[in-house]
C-alpha cells in the first residue's frame, strides 16, 4: 500500500488554477521528486499536504488515513515533516532550541508540570536532548549547536532546517528545494544526506527540486508538472527525455 496517495487534487487562487487535478502515489521508502518550471504548482502541493491551504477538490491520504481536512498542527503529529523554500527557522533562538522544537510532537508533559519543572519534565528534556544530539552528529552540526540562527550563513541554515525536520522523527519528509542557494559542494553534501536519510533512517522523501543533477542522483521517481497539471511521471532519465517536459522548460 502506498504511504501517500494524492487524488485529483485541485486549488484555485482567484482565477488561476494553481493545482489542477494532480494525482500521484508515493510508496514507503521511496524518494519522490516533483519538478516543473516556476509557477507550476510544486510548492502549492506541499502547502496543500501541510494543510496551510484548503484544497478545492481531491483527497490526500497518508498511511491509510484521510488527512484532507486535518488541522495543520496535526500533520506533524501524524508523522509528516517539511522544510520551506525560503527557510522558516526560529531566528532568535539557538540551533539547539530549534532542534528541540522539532521534538514537540513527542512531548507528553503538561504545562502545569513544566511550570514547577517536575522530574518527569527534566527526564523528557534529557531524552529529547539525546535524540537531538544524534541528529546533530548525523548532519555535522556540532560546531553550531549553541549559536543563534540569525548569525548563521545561509548554507548552514538550510542544514539546520533539515535537522529540525528530522528531529520530529517523521515517516515522510518533504523538502522544498533543498539545494536552492547552496554552492556545488554543499549541494553534493545534501545529495549524500538525502540518500542517507532514506537508507539509515528509513524515511520516505518527497522533494521539490530544480537542480536536475541532484534530482537524477537521488530520485526513484519524478513527477513533472506544468501549469498545475501533470506532464509525466517516471524514472529521472525518462522524464528528462520526455518531449513535453523539454517543451515546458524551453518553450516550443
Amino acid at each position: 500500500m502506498a504511504l501517500v496517495e494524492v487524488n485529483n487534487l485541485a486549488i484555485q487562487f482567484g482565477g488561476i488554477r494553481a493545482v489542477d487535478g494532480v494525482s500521484f502515489e508515493i510508496s514507503a521508502g521511496e524518494i519522490y521528486t516533483i519538478i516543473g518550471p516556476n509557477g507550476a504548482g510544486k510548492t502549492t502541493i506541499f502547502n496543500l499536504i501541510s494543510r496551510i491551504y484548503d484544497p478545492l477538490d481531491g483527497t490526500i491520504v497518508f498511511n491509510g488515513q484521510d488527512i484532507t481536512h486535518e488541522q495543520p498542527h496535526r500533520i506533524a503529529q501524524l508523522g509528516i515533516a517539511r522544510t520551506f523554500q525560503n527557510i522558516e527557522l526560529f531566528e532568535n533562538a539557538t540551533v539547539l532550541d530549534n532542534l528541540l522544537l522539532g521534538r514537540h510532537r513527542h512531548h507528553r508533559t503538561q504545562f502545569w508540570q513544566e511550570i514547577v519543572f517536575f522530574p518527569v519534565v527534566r527526564h523528557q528534556e534529557l531524552e529529547d536532548r539525546e535524540k537531538v544530539e544524534e541528529i546533530i552528529d548525523f548532519l555535522d552540526l556540532q560546531h553550531y549547536r549553541e549559536q543563534f540562527v540569525r548569525s548563521l550563513p545561509y548554507g548552514v541554515r538550510k542544514v539546520v532546517e533539515l535537522a529540525r525536520a528530522l528531529a520530529t522523527q517523521p515517516e515522510l519528509l518533504m523538502l522544498d528545494e533543498p539545494s536552492s542557494g547552496l554552492n556545488v559542494e554543499e549541494t553534493r553534501d545534501m545529495s549524500f544526506w538525502i540518500r542517507d536519510i532514506r537508507q539509515q533512517l528509513g524515511i520516505t522523501l518527497l522533494m521539490v527540486e530544480h537542480d536536475m543533477k541532484l534530482v537524477a542522483d537521488v530520485s526513484d521517481r519524478v513527477l513533472a508538472l506544468n501549469d498545475g497539471r501533470v506532464l509525466t511521471e517516471g524514472s529521472p532519465s525518462s522524464v528528462q527525455g520526455n518531449a513535453d517536459v523539454v517543451a515546458a522548460y524551453l518553450g516550443e
Binding site: A81, H104, T109
Partner: protein
Amino acid sequence: MRFIFKTSYQQDIRLYRHGGDIFWYGLLLLALLTAPAVLDVYYIGELTLMAIFAIAGVGLMLLTGYTGQISLGHAAFFGVGAYTEAVLIEAGWPFLLSFPTAGLLAGAVGVAIGLPALRLTGLYLAIATLAFAFIVEEVLARWESVTHGHEGMAVGDISLLGMDIDTEWKLYYIAIAVLILVMLGALNILRSPTGRAFVAIRDSEHAAQSLGVNLATYKTLAFAISAAFTGLAGALYAHKLLYISPDAFTIYMSIELLLMVVIGGLGSLHGVVFGAAFVILLPQAIAIFRDELPSMVAEQPGLESAIFGLILVLVILFEPLGIYGRWLKIKHYFSVFPLYRKATFKRQKTYSRMTQR
C-alpha cells in the same frame, strides 16, 4: 572571559550556568533580604512597588517578549487581580486563598481575551486588547454593588498565618517572595517545551505549526499565564495602595507596563527587573530634575509622559534590546578588556530576514 566546559546535558537544563551565577544571585538575595534593616521605609515602599511591577512585567514579557503577542490591555488584568483581592479580603477570605484566586480569575479573563485574539496580530491585536481594557475599566466603575464604583474601596490588611501584614517591610518581603516564585515559574516554562513553543510562535507561525505546535492552544495559554501573573501583581498592588479605584487601572498603566518590558529589553527576564526599576525610578528622577528647570518647562502638565515617550523612542532607535542589551555590552566590555571591538554587537543583516518582514 569565562569558557564553560560542558560534560553533561544537565548543564544546559539547570537554571545557573556556573558558580559565579550562584554567587551573584545569592548576593542579590542577601541585599534584598537585609534592605529593610538598612533603608528608609520610603525606599522599602518603592522597592515593593518595583517588585510588584516586575511581577506583572514577567507576565507581559512572556506574552510580548517571548510569544510575540502585543498587549495594550494589561492594566485590565492588573485591575481584575486588585479588585478580586479587595473583594475577597472584604468577604473574610484568608490571604493564602484569596491571592491565588485573584491570579486564577485574572488568568480566566486572560483566556477570554486570548480566544478572540487568536485571529489578530500586531497592530490589530494591540487595538483589540486596548478596547478590552476599556471594557474592564468601565465594568469596574459601573458594577457598584461589588466594586463601589468610582468611590473606590478600601483594602483590608493581609493576615498571613496569624501574622498581620501591617508594615511596609512585611509587604515588601511578600512581594519579593512572590516575584522570586513568579520568576522561577517563568524560567521553568522557558526551559521546557511550552516556552520553546512560545518562542516558535513569535519567530515563525508557519514553522511552529509545521512542527505540530497548536497555535490556538499556545497563544491562549500565553495569554492565560501572562494575565494570571499580572493579576497576582494587581492583588499585591491593592495591598500596597490600601485604597483602590478604577482610575488606578487605566490605559496609562497599560502603556507603562508595555514601556517597562520594551525599555528593559524584550525577550529577557533580566530586562523585566531593569524595566521595573526604570519605570518606578524615572518619576522620582524627574521630580528632582524638575526643581532645576525653568518654571516655564517644569510646570508643563505633560512633562512626565513626554519624557517617557522620548526615552522610549531613543531606546527603540539606539538600543533595541533595551537596558538589558546595554548591560550585556558593558559586561562584555569588562570581560574581554582591553580587547573590546566596537563591531562585536553590530547586528548582522541577512537578506532572508528582510524579505520576510
